[in-house]
Subunit: 141 residues, 2 copies
DNA sequence: ACGATTGGAAACTATCTTGGTTACAGTTCG
DNA sequence: CGAACTGTAACCAAGATAGTTTCCAATCGT
């Protein structure tokens, strides 16, 4: 299963940007909050930019900005941006085509897996970055 | 996301056992359908046994059996048996405790992640091994 | 024009997970 | 006894992940 913290860190980044209130923020500053290397942050930010969730500006005084209001960014958007592949991969070796189960199990599973992933994403859609900013502000006082 | 094909293979195994109609099956036979090594199968079966989904018998004529009727085994049971950890891991390094976002984001995310995982599992609960056997039988003709 | 500050990107490393394989000990049955 | 099983440990190759260094390009203030 998904064993990376990319999703968590990506949410952290966007919440931080929203928390900043529209000010440009450098990858180094973000890295200070996440407690990692700026290059790791930039790698994630470039995925988020591909998904049109953030914009970047190079040069002095440059940095990163949200491309949309925090209320318009859901956890599902972030999930899709950074966790490209499917939730449940199929077999690494194709099963035995001469077995009734082996020859059919993958297509039987496909629909169920897709459905389950949609159920997950539908739940993720319920929470926006704006919600998280509000929660963080409540917790931090 | 990681992610591994354990879930897929575990479903395959249980569907195969159910398809066999209550006959004991060896790990080597199962490996033939999955197209992998018997030891890989036994590793997964031992997880499934821990979850009380299958039983094993050693020695000549031994093998594996479902511990419950196929109708009583859902994809959620299988998921829980083989994918132990949480769906979305938090940061690998703990975020900056002196940052309002860094110090609170993990507890803010905890609830949402748990909720999303429950939504996923609730969907997985809708499908049983008996359903898959039926689908396989339809597809295989 | 210069120099400082920033993102962009490649390359390399260490670590972990996964899947596959070999090997061997223990159990059961004929 | 000997064959057919499970139960495990150990090891390897391949891939993913996170961290780091390094260099280039763009931008801005002076």
């Amino acid at each position: 299963m998904n064993t990376s913290s990319r999703f968590t860190v990506a949410i952290h980044i966007l919440t931080l940007l929203a928390h900043g209130g529209g000010e440009q923020m450098t990858s180094e500053h973000i890295a200070g909050s996440v407690n990692t290397n700026p290059v790791v942050i930039r790698r994630l930010l470039s995925l988020l930019r591909d998904a049109k969730l953030v914009t970047s500006q190079v040069g002095v005084g440059g940095g990163w900005l949200l491309a949309r209001p925090p209320k318009g960014i859901t956890l599902r958007d972030i999930y899709r941006a950074v966790e490209g592949s499917t939730l449940f991969p199929l077999h690494s070796n194709t099963p035995n085509p001469r077995c009734p189960v082996g020859s059919t199990i993958q297509s039987a599973l496909g629909g169920h897996f897709e459905e389950a992933q949609l159920a997950l994403e539908k739940d993720l859609e319920r929470t926006t970055v704006a919600d998280l900013v509000k929660e963080v502000q409540t917790l931090a006082r």
